[in-house]
């Protein structure tokens, strides 16, 4: 069991304090694959840093398998691929992965990991001579070779091309099928949708939605209708079929829709005087903002 309980983290900057994480509560069962989804600046990386004990929360606690993060890490139960980071130089890929394996009590077979991550052919190459995609694969191998109970990945596919992404997620699926717990951060809805059992949606330092992938996808896939409509009741607009929520800014109304096609027909029927109609895909970022605002 992994529990993040009331996590808060504020950074002091020259422009004043930034509340990166503002009260995050998440519980993850062993064997789950969870996507931490959100736009840049949502607090994903800070949350992951606290999950791994790399940063101390200002408030709240992290429990990994009934231990503190430090104890779980000492026991070799956690593997991670952080968002940034290159490799140390003057070692071959094989030597580097082998050295990392030797730090853990129960590592995977080094050759097997090299094959699994598709870097068996470059095992003899020095780490400073690799391309960006190869480096990313080696970093993945370093995370995997620890054979952890919990694997944490912070935007793991950022430097990969399409084929690299596909290979990466195939490997992840294989790893998840061994009953391992996986937490990954991403800002791609498609990735979260395709590979996670569950999505924890973050925006502005908070969890704004947490549920099965399908549910979150429906929320994030919504569209909005903007129109000029003086005098209509916000409450009545919100009741229209296909409309999730309505708000008013002066003469403008904004309708968040689960089914925008239906909503617009109903809107025109009910309010023939409606003008300046605009329909927009909410997009992930906008969906996040809506969800935080509500």
């Amino acid at each position: 069991m992994i529990a993040l309980d009331g996590l808060v983290k504020t950074y002091a900057t020259s422009a004043g304090p930034i509340e990166a994480v503002r009260g995050v509560n998440v519980t993850i069962a062993p064997g789950e694959t969870v996507a931490l989804l959100g736009p840049n600046g949502a607090g994903k990386s800070t949350t992951i840093d606290m999950l791994l004990g790399l940063q101390r929360p200002d408030a709240g606690t992290v429990t990994l398998f009934d231990r503190t993060p430090e104890a779980a890490i000492s026991a070799g139960m956690v593997g991670a691929m952080l968002q940034t980071g290159s490799l140390i130089e003057d070692l071959s890929v094989g030597e580097l992965v082998g050295m990392m394996a030797s730090l853990y009590p129960d590592p995977m077979d080094v050759d097997a990991v090299l094959d699994l991550t598709g870097i068996g052919k470059i095992a003899g190459q020095r780490t400073q001579k690799l391309s960006g995609g190869q480096t990313q694969r080696v970093r993945f191998a370093v995370a995997l070779v620890s054979n952890p109970e919990l694997l944490v990945l912070d935007e793991p596919t950022a430097a990969l091309d399409v084929q690299g992404r596909r290979d990466f997620w195939d490997t992840m699926r294989e790893f998840a099928s061994r009953g391992k717990t996986i937490v990954f951060a991403t800002h791609y809805l498609e990735e979260a949708d395709a590979y996670a059992d569950r999505i924890v949606l973050m925006a502005q330092g908070q969890v704004v939605a947490d549920g099965p992938t399908t549910e979150i996808k429906a929320m994030a896939g919504s569209r909005t209708i903007r129109a000029t409509l003086p005098g209509a009741e916000v409450g009545e607009l919100g009741e229209l079929p296909g409309v999730l929520a309505a708000e008013r800014h002066g003469e403008t109304v904004i309708l968040s829709c689960s089914d925008s096609d239906r909503a617009i027909r109903e809107l025109l029927d009910a309010y023939p005087e409606v003008r300046d109609l605009e329909i927009a895909g909410a997009g992930l970022e906008q969906a996040f903002l809506q969800l935080t605002a509500s």
Binding site: G53, L54, I73, D90, E95, G98, M99, L103, V142
Partner: protein
């Protein structure tokens, strides 16, 4: 097992780092031959009672060793900057092992530099009883402690690209003030120099001649700097990890 394989990897990386070897090993060795070679018949260098060959053998061993131990810190700086330190922090590797390995490998390099210079010195006529070779080596290794700590301290304060100039300039200046290039027996530089730990690295050569170790001042300076810089390094490490 962990420590062995980690140390092995660090040793491999050191041996493969050609630029580092040139500055820490090749440079002092060449300088020794160039400077001490033509003056190998001078038995009393500027009235110190130490021969030119012995003087430069010790000072160049100290020079290479200083670069070697301080480069341990430069490496930490680089590993911090590229995010490798964070990767290690989420592994079971103890932070103590990380630092002791870095310092240990630096000392192995230092001893290698010393051995090469001892062999060169022997070729140019330095003959000492076995006990004095050891006594001298012991003092130099001890005198390197403050520099190992300084390397770690700087490694946490400076970025990797400023580390190179800082080390090159810093070691060069210390070497000059501490009499690496010629003995300084009086004057302002002498008065300042003797409060620096690097001063006493060269003074270790006196063991070879008289069998006497450092005077009290030498011990106080080396131990004082060791304690101060180790505390400083520990503090820099803690501040750095808290901020990340």
């Amino acid at each position: 097992m962990t420590t062995v394989s980690y140390t092995r990897a660090e040793l491999l990386r050191t041996v493969r780092n050609r630029r580092f070897l040139i500055f820490a090993v090749g440079f002092p060795l060449v300088l020794f031959w160039v400077i001490a070679g033509p003056q190998s018949d001078q038995k009393n260098f500027n009235g110190t009672g130490v021969s030119v060959v012995l003087w430069y053998m010790t000072s160049m061993a100290a020079y290479g060793s200083m670069i070697a131990v301080m480069s341990g810190g430069a490496r930490i700086s680089l590993e911090r900057q590229v995010g490798w330190t964070r990767q290690l922090r989420i592994s079971p590797l103890k932070i103590r092992t990380y630092f002791t390995t870095k310092v240990g490998v630096a000392y192995v390099t230092s001893v290698s530099v010393m051995l090469l210079l001892y062999v060169s010195g022997f070729v140019l006529g330095v003959r000492l009883p076995a006990g004095r070779w050891l006594g001298m080596t012991g003092l130099i290794l001890l005198g390197l402690v403050p520099f190992a700590a300084l390397g770690i301290l700087l490694g946490h304060l400076l970025k990797a690209d400023t580390m190179g100039p800082a080390l090159g300039g810093g070691v060069g200046l210390l070497a000059l003030i501490s009499g690496f290039w010629f003995p300084i027996t009086s004057g302002v530089i002498h008065d300042i120099g003797q409060y620096l730990p690097s001063w006493w690295l060269v003074q270790a050569s006196h063991v070879g001649v008289s069998g006497e170790a450092w005077p009290l001042l030498g011990w106080v300076v080396v131990i004082g700097w060791s304690v101060a810089l180790t505390l400083g390094a520990a503090r820099a490490y803690r501040r750095d990890t808290a901020r990340q």
